[in-house]
């Protein structure tokens, strides 16, 4: 499968998911810093439209006393049950064995491309593994 041009990087607001349809599939694209992430708009839990959920930096806290902090690691929070999924590899934060489907997206000369046949980080171009 070849990659698809989905627009100019400046059309993507940081942290705001945009939904596009590619080959009959809904994919959510979101810019985070200089990266673009792509995820299938389908939660592996109960099938929610995952990509209409909030995108934010992962909330962490090192010790029990004190306050939480926000990390640079982006997650999307499912709009139904609130499960958090790492945008980079699609894994659920609480249970890494559960995965949302991700796609390789890249920015080349200010154009954003997504490869709907790939999984992010998978350079062989094979079909993505089941969530």
């Amino acid at each position: 499968m070849s990659r698809v041009d989905v627009g100019d990087i400046d059309d993507f607001q940081c942290g705001q998911m945009r939904l596009i349809e590619v080959n009959g599939r809904e994919i959510g694209l979101v810019r985070w810093g200089d990266e673009v992430y792509a995820m299938r708009n389908h939660c592996p839990h109960e099938g929610a439209p995952l990509c209409i959920g909030v995108v934010e930096g992962l909330v962490t806290q090192d010790t029990t006393d004190g306050a939480p902090s926000v990390s640079d690691r982006p997650v999307v929070c499912c709009p139904w049950h609130g499960w958090e999924f790492d945008l980079a590899d699609g894994r659920s934060i609480v249970n890494p064995r559960v995965r949302a489907k991700t796609f390789r997206a890249e920015v080349v000369e200010s154009r954003v491309f997504v490869d709907p046949g790939s999984r992010r980080g998978d350079h062989s171009g094979d079909a993505p593994a089941q969530a």
Partner: protein
């Protein structure tokens, strides 16, 4: 196979036996010398049981749990118990006495009484629990004082004197001291039932009968377990073990599963947790077996327990002798999957109580 029993109930034969350990000022404040036969206090040291079984809360002929020889004859010798954790029975609500420094005095006197009457008699099977005056900011001092005794193995939280779930930071000073000394923390059914507690024994309504009191007693245990895990107590105190007594075999499974499921959605309420709640449960929580639930056949309970394999390392035999619902080791063994019997009756309790002794002898 020898048996380790994680809950045996003890009582003073009368208040005077404990009052001897009170400072003179408190002793006189509570009693009028020579005005009442046998020098018993005019004011009872301990709150009465909030709910009482009409046929008696304790087995008849067991001496009200006040006689070490009867305990040996009727239970320890008879059932091959090699180690038994003593828990205060009617003294357990002392920390909730509404007069703060009096609660402290009574707790200290009770601990001293126990050490003298039960831990000094040469019976190596007996390990003691100490009460803590949890209303007071310096409660941990009593853990360090009374917990220094080499035969004390546990801190018995007793009545919920602060009125918050037991994972609340207000309780952490006590856990820190218990953690430092290698003592097990014991939380028991009925801890929220006193009229002197701000917390409730049951949701929606206080019990309006003994049956309701008995059946709903697991709710406290569930709240406290959830609180300890969710408030990160086991992250903060990584060697702490907490033993829950008085809820039976079946209350923990649905609660642990539920907590795991909700954690998926609300991880951000506890972002300091590094593992699933159920992992903290398996490692840090122990559940005393009493009172065992009756099922129409043992296979039914075995199937229930096997549905959550982690219980094999979590359940610890607890007779609750001489409570009316006390259970003998054979009765408990019959409810268990056969491969679990040795763990539940012996190994888990041994591991739970063992560490204290290692701490002392090293």
């Amino acid at each position: 196979m020898t048996v380790v029993d994680c809950a045996v109930r003890i009582n003073p034969p009368d208040d005077a036996d404990v009052a001897r350990h009170l400072p003179g000022g408190w002793r006189q404040f509570l009693s009028k010398p020579n005005a009442i036969a046998r020098g018993t206090s005019a004011t009872p040291l301990y709150q009465t049981r909030p709910f009482r079984h009409p046929d008696g809360d304790l087995l008849i002929d067991a001496g009200n749990g006040s006689d070490p020889r009867l305990l040996s004859q009727q239970h320890l010798d008879r059932h091959g118990v090699s180690r038994a954790l003593l828990l205060h029975d009617r003294a357990r609500l002392a920390a909730t006495n509404p007069t703060p420094r009096l609660s402290e005095a009574i707790v200290q006197a009770t601990n001293d009484w126990m050490t003298e009457r039960w831990l000094g008699g040469g019976d190596d099977r007996l390990l003691g629990s100490i009460l803590v005056p949890t209303q007071l900011p310096d409660a941990a001092a009593e853990v360090r004082r009374a917990g220094a005794h080499p035969r004390v193995a546990a801190v018995q939280m007793g009545g919920n004197a602060i009125g918050k779930p037991f994972g609340h930071p207000l309780y952490h000073g006590v856990y820190e001291a218990a953690h430092d000394l290698g003592l097990v923390v014991v939380i028991e059914a009925g801890c929220d039932a006193s009229v002197d507690t701000l917390s409730s024994h049951s949701a929606a309504s206080p019990p309006t009968s003994y049956t309701e009191y008995h059946v709903l007693a697991t709710q406290s245990l569930q709240t406290h377990m959830v609180s300890l895990i969710a408030q990160g107590v086991f992250e903060r105190f990584p060697r702490l073990r907490v033993l829950f007594i008085g809820g039976g075999l079946t209350w923990a499974t649905p609660q642990v599963w539920k907590l795991d499921a909700e954690y998926h959605s609300m991880r951000r309420d506890a972002p300091y947790l590094r593992r699933l709640p159920s992992e903290y449960f398996a490692e840090h929580v122990r559940v005393g077996t009493s009172p065992i639930e009756a099922t129409s056949s043992p296979h039914i309970m075995q199937r229930y327990l096997e549905a959550y394999p982690a219980l094999r390392q979590v359940l610890c035999y607890a007779s609750d002798f001489p409570s009316w619902f006390a259970s003998e080791p054979q009765a408990v063994a019959a409810t268990l999957p056969p491969t679990w019997v040795d763990d539940v009756l012996s190994k888990n309790g041994d591991a739970l109580l063992q560490r204290r002794e290692m701490e002392v002898t090293s």
